[in-house]
């Protein structure tokens, strides 16, 4: 494009100002990425949650158990494809700070109900044979440098005072999608039943139910709860998304908070860059007059100003998003255990660039229109 030279030369006219404006964009876009990532971390569970899965817990409270004997009854309900049960182990590995979720799983049905977390076939086979075996998510394994064959002691706090339980890592699972949770630690139900004090035996934390079709969700949930109504252990069954969403709602105003901060950033950025563009155009009134005198059309002049603004926006935006791509994994590991996966997705990046371009266009528009409407005679007189 032949106006390149002119646009570039104008941009580099005042290097400090260029750097500062680029910096402002970079900062704003970095913040944008950060906020998007945090929002997703808090609310993402609800998005990820499967529409084809139900979660059944004790109606009284989430910390109360339900009997293992319910399993067959649930499996018999029409529309149920597979059922698996879990317990939350909640143990401590070396230090409280090293938190990661530990689940007791039912190996027979786990993979049917939760197919998106994938274990290599041979590792799974070894796990099945090993009573003390454990499967750990890739992220947690990486965090502690665990390898297959490592012996991991985990102290129980909820289930009696038996001290540390020892597990052998037989496999590492990976999620199919980027957002999938790769921090979980699974071990055998049988081992759990064996070691746990009498009062905890035969009890399950929750059931995860896979449906034939998502359309059955409401009907099957009602059916399950009806089955166990008026029993000593009544259930409350809902879709996984509803379950995840209610956790998020307890967080109250996270989204609102993030939206507010985001808007503050947007408007401030708009102001800063708009003002910068305005100043820069004001300084060049004479030159713009010359261009018009030579024969540059009004529209061309508007285009020149807009192009400058958009160029700054794009470059600054890329800088900021690039920084985010680098920084967010570091942040994720610093916060690991506090927040689930911090992921910068492609759609977030695209949205970021769009946001940058929007601000760039908006900030260049007013000064650009002013430049466009500049009357040559007035501009030249000022020179």
């Amino acid at each position: 494009m032949k106006f390149n030279r002119l646009i570039l030369a104008n941009l580099f006219r005042k290097k400090i100002r260029l750097a500062l404006t680029l910096g402002s964009f970079a900062v704003a876009l970095f913040l944008f990425a950060f906020l998007a990532v945090v929002k997703k971390a808090f609310t993402g569970g609800a998005d990820l949650a499967n529409a084809r899965r139900l979660v059944a817990i004790n109606r009284v409270s989430i910390i109360n158990p339900i009997p293992l004997s319910y399993r067959d009854k649930i499996a018999r309900i029409p529309g149920v494809q597979a059922v698996t049960h879990n317990n939350w182990f909640g143990g401590i590995y070396q230090d409280e700070k090293n938190f990661f979720p530990q689940f007791v799983i039912d190996p027979e049905n786990q993979r049917q109900v939760v197919p998106e977390l994938v274990v290599p076939e041979d590792e799974w086979k070894n796990f099945l044979k090993d009573r003390q075996g454990a499967i750990v998510g890739a992220r947690t394994a990486k965090r502690f440098g665990w390898k297959i064959g490592d012996r991991i002691p985990i102290k129980t706090t909820i289930y009696g005072t038996g001290g540390a339980w020892e597990f052998i890592i037989d496999g590492i699972y990976h999620g199919q999608r980027r957002e999938d949770d790769e921090t979980q630690f699974w071990f055998q139900w049988d081992y759990f039943e064996e070691r746990v004090p009498e009062r905890f035996k035969g009890l399950v934390g929750w059931y995860a139910v896979k449906l034939d079709s998502p359309d059955d969700a409401v009907r099957v949930a009602k059916a399950i709860d009806a089955e166990f109504a008026n029993s000593p252990y009544e259930t409350k069954t809902e879709t996984e998304s509803a379950f995840a969403a209610s956790w998020v709602k307890q967080f109250g105003n996270i989204e609102f908070l993030i939206l507010t901060i985001g808007s503050v950033v947007f408007f401030t950025l708009l102001l800063v860059t708009g003002n910068t563009m305005a100043i820069s155009v004001r300084e060049r009134t004479g030159e713009l007059g010359i261009l018009k005198a030579i024969g540059f059309k009004d529209g061309t002049v508007l285009f020149l100003v807009l192009a400058e603004a958009l160029a700054i926006a794009l470059v600054g935006g890329f800088l900021g998003l690039g920084l985010a791509i680098l920084a967010i994994p570091a942040l994720a590991s610093a916060l690991s255990g506090l927040l689930p996966n911090l992921i910068l997705s492609k759609s977030m990046l695209t949205a970021g660039i769009g946001f940058a371009l929007l601000v760039g266009a908006a900030s260049g528009l007013l000064p650009g229109l002013g430049a466009m409407r500049l009357r040559v005679v007035n501009a030249l007189r000022r020179v």
């Binding site: 030279r5 030369a9 540059f296 020179v383």
Partner: protein, 250 residues
């Protein structure tokens, strides 16, 4: 041939008939040009003189399509520009007019070469074609060795030469100069005027120049005075630069 009295049509390159221009300052209306006529042929070199505020620059602006008159017509090479739309006028100006101002009005962030190239960016010429035109223009003004310098690295006279190169690079129909030597010392002024003369004599350019300096004006073929809103002829012969004055200046 230059004429200020023609009323009907002529075969002149530039024809101005009954030009009126008024400015409004609050309630007042100030009539700057009143019924001005002008004929200029190809290859003519005309100087406009007049006291400050007489409307010389206004006339130049109107001739260059930078402003619109209150009444009257201006035709250049058969095109009547007074009723052209703003964007057509801009196009027309790019094609037909070369502008040289008192302050050189170069873009400080572009090199001399890039400044000269500017008008060509409005054409469809390819990069190499543009280069040819630029190099030609630059060598005509004698600045080939400084093509890639920035304006701040050039002297006043050199800057004005770059401006002239920019004015001629797209081979316009005529050149408009507004006090081209106003900001220069006597020696540089001389050089510039010599260059302009060369453009007229050697390259057949048509030049209309506004100046308040009689010595500069004398170098044109025709000097016209702007009085009471119309042009009046003064003298018809070109006088060479007065050597004594040139040598005595600092």
């Amino acid at each position: 041939m230059v004429s200020v009295n023609n009323n009907g049509n002529s075969s002149a390159l530039i024809q101005v008939r009954g030009l009126n221009k008024a400015y409004h300052r609050g309630e007042e209306e100030i009539q700057v040009l009143q019924g001005l006529n002008l004929d200029v042929d190809k290859g003519d070199f005309v100087a406009f003189m007049g006291p400050s505020g007489s409307g010389k620059t206004t006339l130049l602006n109107l001739l260059g399509g930078l402003d619109v008159p209150s009444a009257g017509t201006i035709s250049v090479a058969g095109d009547e520009i007074t009723h052209m739309s703003s964007s057509r006028l801009t196009e027309w100006r790019a094609r037909h007019v070369g502008l040289i101002f008192q302050m050189y009005n170069l873009i400080p962030v572009l090199t001399a070469y890039q400044n000269v190239e500017l008008p060509l960016l409005l054409t469809r010429l390819s990069r190499s074609e543009r280069r040819r035109h630029v190099e030609t223009a630059v060598s005509i003004v004698g600045l080939a060795d400084r093509m890639h310098h920035f304006p701040r690295q050039l002297s006043g006279g050199q800057e004005q030469r770059v401006a002239i190169a920019r004015a001629i690079v797209s081979d316009p129909t005529f050149l408009l100069c507004d006090e081209p030597t106003g900001d220069l010392d006597r020696r540089s002024a001389d050089e510039i005027m010599a260059l302009i003369e060369e453009l007229v004599d050697k390259h057949g350019k048509t030049v209309l120049m506004v100046t308040h300096d009689p010595i500069v004006a004398a170098r044109a073929d025709t000097v016209l005075h702007l009085e009471k809103g119309v042009l009046v002829e003064a003298s018809k012969s070109r006088q060479p630069a007065v050597a004594g004055l040139a040598g005595g200046a600092a």
